[in-house]
Amino acid sequence: MPEVAEAVAGQTPPKPPATRHQGAGATIKKRWRAWLRAIHRDIGYLAVGFTVLYALSGIAMNHIDDWDPNFHASETTHKITPIPDELSDADATQRIAAAAGVTGKLEDTFRAGDEVRLTYTNGSKVTAIGDTVTVQLRRDRLFFRVADWLHATRGKQAWKFIADAYAALLLYLAISGIFMIRGRLGLRWRGATLIVVGLAAPIGYIVVSGGPGAQNTEKVAARPGEVDPPRPPKPSTDGITPLPPDDDAPPRRN
């Protein structure tokens, strides 16, 4: 390398070696990894809020059969003398409210069958059935109520697109992450090993569990022999509102 040796001796930078690529194309080719990292970094910043929201609400909803991630719900019961049918609504309400001990403004009273229901403006619901008064109350969990609501995209048209965009960003983060670093810490050893470990978890689970195909499924079809014929009709004498037949009505969609 005589040119380099001369340049070092004279303290002038060496000329770059000649390449087949010139101009912007050459720059991009040489610098693509730097661009990849820079975009990865910025998308990473963008994704912080989304990731925290989806990760925490995802954990919360994964364990929904252990706790209620959305609400603090309480239910207490109190014993009373059963409310006789002849007792007026006002007196029944007074007796039930006293037993329930709910502080707050009564919004409404509903009485039907053996039930008397009181609704309070603070959300408390009080129901008297026989000798038991049940007080039901629930309050939102501050963060999870909103996060879980956002996590479930059903019925949220605009948010669905935002969530799709976030998913696309995550895909970029995952794929660009593979190529960010060269050498032993990259795909040659550490990166490849960890990718395999990461893939092994879902693949291993599918293999061990047998996957969805392992379920003992039985497709439901019309099975005329299993259907009991409807019993003969009885005349309607209870004041229930009859509806016109809707044989030809199109099915409702979800």
Binding site: M61, I64, D65, D68, N70, A73, E75, T77, D108, F110, A112, G113, D114, E115, R117, T119, K125, T127, I129, G130, T132, T134, Q136, R138, D148, A152, R154, G155, P212, Q215, N216, T217, E218, K219, V220, A221, A222, R223, P224, E226, V227, D228, P229, P230, R231, P233, K234, S236, D238, G239, I240, T241, P242, L243, P245, D246, P251, R252, R253, N254
Partner: protein, 244 residues
């Protein structure tokens, strides 16, 4: 004794950071695995209710607890888009392939013949409520009142915000299937479908639509919300028909 794999950090201090990180990652992995295993063991060891339910048989010969389920003594709130839960505004529409479709409100529902039955319910996520005492009106009674036509094969449960769930007519009109408004002598809580939900206990619990607004009888099957999202169309817990 020095770890033979440990680099000589006195000679190569620049490796100290990488070595520390490796030790941290190892410790974190071991700690997480230990906690997960411990939690699982605590859950399994303390689950007498499930052991008892597994040992019992139903009258039809099947085990009381379907495979892959653990028993609980109360319902878990599983989410969903809630209805408003107000009995004053609640109405149930019974329609479809029937000669006398009708609509009734909550007070009218309470005037129909009521039943109270003990039934276990099984959530597809793996828990079962055993020994719940449910009160309501049998779906067979509603079918009879609506004069369901002989060609009807399926029942579609319609609920708040367009949710639907389908079930074969035979299972939806079985003895224990009903529209229910009371569990263990108490009104249903809003998160459990108040004021009225469906109950088809021998199918996975998502078929028992919460915040029920309608029951439709149809000839051709109409897979519902979860059935069109990868869950099984039939959903028999004893066959573990969880997914499509």
């Amino acid at each position: 004794m020095r770890d033979s794999r440990r680099p000589d950090l006195d000679r190569f201090p620049e490796l100290a950071k990488a070595w520390d990180r490796r030790q941290f990652v190892k410790s974190a992995a071991v700690g997480t695995a230990f906690m997960a295993l411990g939690g699982a063991l605590v859950r399994i060891a303390g689950d007498d209710l499930s052991k008892q339910a597994r040992a019992e048989k139903r009258s039809d010969g099947r085990t009381r607890l379907p495979p892959g389920q653990r028993a609980l003594d109360e319902l878990r709130p599983m989410g969903g888009e809630e209805g408003d839960g107000d009995v004053r505004r609640w109405k149930l529409r019974v329609h479809g392939l029937c000669k006398s479709p009708f609509e009734l409100d909550y007070a009218e529902l309470l005037k129909l013949p009521q039943v109270q039955k003990e039934a276990d319910v099984h959530c597809v996520t793996g828990w079962s409520l055993v020994g719940g005492l449910w009160k309501g009106v049998p779906i067979a009674t509603l079918a009879e009142k609506a004069e369901v036509k002989s060609e009807a094969r399926f029942v579609i449960f319609e609920a708040a915000h367009g949710y639907t769930a389908n079930a074969p007519l035979k299972e939806a009109t079985a003895d224990t299937a009903m529209v229910t408004y009371r569990l263990n002598g108490k009104p249903l809580a809003l998160q459990h479908g108040a004021p009225v939900r469906g109950l088809v206990p021998d199918l996975y619990f998502w078929k028992s639509a919460k915040w029920l607004t309608g029951i439709k009888f149809v000839k051709a099957d109409e897979p519902g919300y979860w059935e069109t999202r990868g869950y099984n169309n039939h959903a028999d817990p004893w066959k573990e028909e969880r997914y499509a």
